[in-house]
């Protein structure tokens, strides 16, 4: 499909640029590790508390580290008028938005996949008991963060206080997805099976992802061009 083709070209460009310098990945990973370190002072990592708080801690780390990745997503197009060139290209706003989302999503997944074992080591938590469902939660929650973050990154790219405004804007939006991801992660890292009550959070995550992906694709053109 032509749409996916254009989006994939944009995504590949971003990933290739990132893999050459790895600056965003390094910054994001370092930030994630620092947060994990700081939380070790705040929380006493005995197994009872950790099981109850693992979801919250993990997703907080992903949210903060993810904000760095998402900020760079459009900021890297600012020098040399690259953003204007992208907007003037035959790719529609939706294709550009989708491409950027895919690239940021892959980078975010790399951070998540590295943080999970580190978290397990630092806090002595066994997270491998429900790996399949846990990966599903990471994918769904990561996509929620990416979709909202990419749209707001595009919105704020030309503003003076971009780095300040992006987190302030996206975190309230992400509250439902964050809650759902935290709930599910808490249960899955504890190794318990999901009960019927917990499946509602999967529905919230999927619904959130679908609704905001569609809205993002529909409104991306307005954000870029008008």
């Amino acid at each position: 499909m032509r749409v996916l083709n254009a989006a994939w070209v944009v995504a590949r460009k971003d990933l290739r640029a990132e893999l050459r310098t790895k600056e965003t990945l390094n910054a994001s990973l370092s930030f994630a590790l620092v947060i994990l370190l700081l939380f070790s002072f705040i929380l006493d990592p005995d197994s009872q508390t950790m099981r109850a708080m693992s979801g919250g801690l993990l997703w907080l780390v992903f949210m903060f580290a993810g904000a760095l990745i998402l900020n760079r997503s459009f900021a890297r197009e600012l020098p040399n008028d690259c953003l204007e060139a992208l907007i003037a290209s035959p790719a529609s706003g939706a294709e550009l938005f989708l491409g950027k989302c895919v690239a940021s999503f892959i980078l975010l997944l790399v951070v998540e996949v590295i943080c999970l074992p580190v978290f397990g080591i630092f806090y002595n938590v066994r997270w491998t008991r429900q790996t399949g469902l846990l990966i599903a939660v990471l994918l769904l929650g990561g996509w929620a963060l990416t979709v909202i973050g990419t749209l707001f990154s595009a919105l704020t790219v030309n503003l003076r206080l971009r780095e300040l405004m992006l987190p302030t804007l996206i975190y309230p939006f992400l509250v439902p997805a964050l809650m759902a991801a935290i709930q599910l992660t808490n249960v899955l890292i504890g190794g318990d099976t999901l009960e019927r009550d917990d499946y509602i959070w999967f529905r919230v995550l999927i619904g959130f992802d679908v609704i905001f992906s569609l809205l993002g694709l529909a409104l991306a053109e307005s954000v870029f061009v008008g």
Binding site: F173, V175, P176, Q183, V204, L215, L219
Partner: protein, 227 residues
């Protein structure tokens, strides 16, 4: 003409309140455990209803702006969001005071207060974004997109936090001891909602006019620099 409409709205609002306030204070009986304090609900809940009415108005205008590019829609959306935020603040503060004196706590992560706080943050972000964008057309466009996203999120937020709270019960700021309010006690709440909506409409009209004046200043300034 517009000025007269504003005064009519304010007068209508005052009239409705003038009828309702005596009912709220004198005719309704006291609640069993809280004494008089529970009457705050007749301002707490209508404020929330009014805030969401304003946010919904902003949503309609934002969609209108994106489809027609008529800048008047932007003025109404901005005005409606600001007014809605003011009423949301009223809801949060009255809820907090009520909670303090009825249940001893200034704040609780009750489903409705939490949802309202998230909504407040969403629309405060909207206003912050408007401050940060200087070019008027771009500001209108970006605000419209955020407004649409925000309202979609408001619905999801309310539902999810309600489900969260049914799994993690917390004190709930309401009167449900036996199962809701008696029928006769609900009417003042809807009348107060009407009064607040009339007041909100007046405020929106005033703010809308201010946004139009601001746009005129911007275009005059550009004209002046071109000379």
């Amino acid at each position: 003409m517009r000025n007269k409409l504003i005064w009519v709205l304010v007068a209508a609002s005052a009239a409705v309140l003038a009828v309702q306030l005596p009912i709220i204070f004198f005719r309704l009986p006291d609640e069993l455990n809280q004494g008089m304090v529970y009457r705050i609900i007749y301002f707490h809940v209508p404020a929330a209803f009014t805030a969401f009415t304003c946010f919904f108005t902003a949503l309609i205008c934002s969609v209108g702006l994106l489809t027609t590019s008529n800048a008047g829609f932007d003025s109404v959306a901005a005005a409606a969001t600001e007014t809605g935020l003011a009423f949301a603040t009223v809801n949060l503060v009255t809820g907090s005071i009520w909670g303090r004196y009825a249940w001893g706590i200034w704040w609780t992560w009750d489903a409705r207060l939490t949802s309202m706080l998230v909504c407040w943050l969403l629309y405060a972000g909207y206003l912050m974004l408007r401050r940060a964008v200087e070019e008027p057309t771009q500001r209108a466009r970006l605000s419209a997109v955020v407004s649409i996203f925000a309202f979609a999120d408001v619905i999801i937020v309310w539902k999810s936090i309600e489900w969260w709270r049914t799994q993690h019960p917390q004190p709930v700021l309401s009167l449900r001891g036996g199962g809701g309010m008696a029928a006769g006690m609900q009417a003042p709440m809807y009348w107060d909602w009407l009064a607040f909506v009339l007041l909100a409409a007046a405020l929106i009209l005033i703010r809308m006019r201010q946004e139009n004046v601001r746009r005129e200043i911007d275009s005059l300034r550009r004209f002046a620099h071109a000379l």
